[in-house]
């Protein structure tokens, strides 16, 4: 395995952490980590090592390099189990990302368990990937969707949520953290209440797992989906965790090689968990990369990461607030992850993005795959700065300077 980087076991220092990420040699002030993160050498090396030294398929061949590949691939599963504190690695399913994980549940669990007239509760804060699969499922089954609204601070209206729970929803699905405006939802309490109301509960951890980590047993949900590429891993590797008894009762999502026990002309018996849900050749290098990313995050310590992001977020909110005509969406910093979504009077987010890009600042503009929320906030789009382990105050300073320049140009 690639040797661990020098930052581990030292007090957390983003300036040092940054040196592990070759991307920053470009000089770009990267403020789009809620979209996708950068990757440290530790991850890149782990993937290179696979390609260079034991490139082969997993679970199939009886030769040495394939055994090593399988061991590393399954090593990620165990690393994920530990990271999310699941009971068993059998509950850890490799997917391409959060989107695939949610689609898997909507298809394999949803089509079997959701019937006409059933209620599915979701929130207005959801990413499209936690909306559209349920709309499709509802259209197919005749189930209905109800949305939990937000208040003026972009926080879920819990009294409305509780009223919906009284209607005994079959499924509740919610994000741990809003990708668009950074709201940290009271997920544990919401899951608890939903379970008590008899619902099956999915939590979208795409923003939660990278920035706060998760203990799925403590959280108490039934399914938890997240993406590797937002947590220092490569694209194409994500995780769906599910309760064993639910996963066992579900039909496969994709069918093909590796997900079978035996195939006969008369029919097929499926593989046991987790391989039942991993049909076809998997993204072996990427899964290994995800394992390395988890190792790296654990080396830094999730509490350190959360604390650092809080500090940067607070700094950014203060600095941005000093600009005239700038309005920040979402809750106060205590209930906000490392995301600052804002609008600048008189400048469309896309114009702003174009101008700050010319200052070398990568800032997202758009609806952030949360169109229902944009409509609710009555904006066509927002500008969004998002932070991670490697974000430093200088990145924020450069953003503020660039926004000020845009204001000068548009004055």
């Amino acid at each position: 395995m690639a040797t661990f980087t020098s930052t581990s076991r030292q007090p957390f220092n983003a300036e040092h952490v940054r040196k592990d990420f070759p991307f920053f040699e470009t000089g770009v002030a990267y403020l789009d980590s809620a979209n996708t993160s950068q990757r440290p050498r530790h991850v890149l090396y782990a993937m290179d090592e696979y390609f260079e030294q034991f490139n082969s398929n997993v679970h199939r061949a009886a030769y040495h390099v394939s055994e090593v590949a399988t061991e590393r691939y399954e090593g990620t599963r165990e690393a994920v189990r530990r990271f999310i504190n699941a009971h068993s690695a059998k509950e850890v399913i490799n997917t391409r990302g959060t989107t695939e994980g949610i689609n898997l549940v909507a298809y394999s669990w949803g089509q079997k368990n959701i019937k006409a007239g059933d209620l599915i509760v979701l929130t207005i804060l959801e990413h499209h990937s936690n909306i559209v699969p349920w709309q499709i499922l509802a259209a197919k089954t005749g189930a209905r969707l109800e949305w939990v609204d937000v208040d003026e601070q972009g926080e879920l209206r819990l009294e409305q949520y509780h009223a919906l729970l009284e209607q005994k929803p079959k499924l509740v699905t919610l994000s741990q953290i809003s990708n668009a405006i950074g709201t940290i939802n009271p997920a544990k309490q919401m899951v608890h209440d939903a379970k008590r109301a008899g619902a099956t509960v999915l939590v979208d951890g795409a923003q939660g797992a990278p920035h706060q980590g998760v203990d799925v047993r403590d959280l108490g949900c039934d399914f938890y989906a997240f993406s590797g590429h937002k947590m220092l891993g490569p694209t194409g590797a994500g995780i769906l965790w599910g309760r064993r008894e639910l996963l066992e009762a579900m039909d496969p999502f994709m069918a093909g090689g590796d997900m079978i026990k035996a195939v006969r002309q008369e029919g097929t018996t499926y593989a046991d968990l987790p391989l039942k849900f991993e049909a076809g050749t998997q993204a072996v290098a990427e899964v290994i990369g995800l394992g390395a990313a988890i190792e790296y995050l654990e080396g830094l310590g999730m509490e350190n990461i959360t604390r650092h992001e809080r500090e940067i977020t607070e700094y950014a909110m203060e600095a941005l607030s000093e600009l005239p005509g700038l309005r920040i969406f979402g809750p106060p910093v205590e209930r906000r992850a490392g995301v600052v979504s804002f609008e600048v009077e008189g400048i469309h987010p896309h114009d702003l993005s174009t101008i700050v890009d010319r200052h070398g600042v990568a800032l997202r503009a758009g609806h952030h795959c949360a169109m229902p929320l944009m409509i609710r906030l009555d904006v066509p789009a927002t500008s969004r700065a998002s932070f991670y382990v490697y974000t430093i105050k200088d990145d924020v300073d450069r953003l503020v300077e660039a926004v000020a320049d845009a204001q000068r140009i548009f004055a």
């Binding site: 896309h350 066509p380 140009i409």
Partner: protein
């Protein structure tokens, strides 16, 4: 390293583009238009609508309304200026290259939809050409 030359911004958002954005020409509605059409770009929320009054085969009056980024709105404003007084036949020959060269700036692939929204409205709506291939080719 990108973004060191801060003068670039002024060049990109040239004075006349900002001027057309802040003081759009031919902004508003026509009471009894010959053609009227509006489209939006849901991806970024840009909206442009165009009213056209045609007399004897000539664009006698044109007005646009909308909201969105500077590129989309300036582009619409410039287009109305260009077309007003033109014969319909002549106006029909305007293509995306004309619109882009009139903007006179280097439009990145991500912003091409903004720049061409007004032309799309004109082609798809006012002239009833339906599925104009438009920005996807950009």
């Amino acid at each position: 390293m990108p973004g060191q030359d801060l003068g670039v911004d002024e060049q990109f958002y040239r004075e006349y583009i900002l001027d057309h954005y802040k003081n759009p020409r031919n902004f508003g509605h026509i009471e009894h238009p010959t053609y009227t059409h509006e489209e939006d770009n849901p991806l970024c929320g840009d909206v442009v609508g165009i009213d056209l009054l045609v007399k004897d085969g000539v664009v006698d009056d044109i007005k646009f309304h909308g909201r969105g980024c500077a590129i989309s709105q300036a582009s619409a404003s410039l287009l109305t200026e260009r077309i007003k007084g033109m014969s319909l036949d002549e106006a029909r020959t305007i293509g995306k290259e004309d619109v882009l060269s009139e903007l006179g700036i280097d439009i990145s692939p991500a912003r091409i939809k903004c720049a061409l929204l007004s032309l799309k409205v004109l082609k798809a709506g006012a002239w009833g050409l339906g599925e104009w291939p438009g920005e996807e080719e950009g």
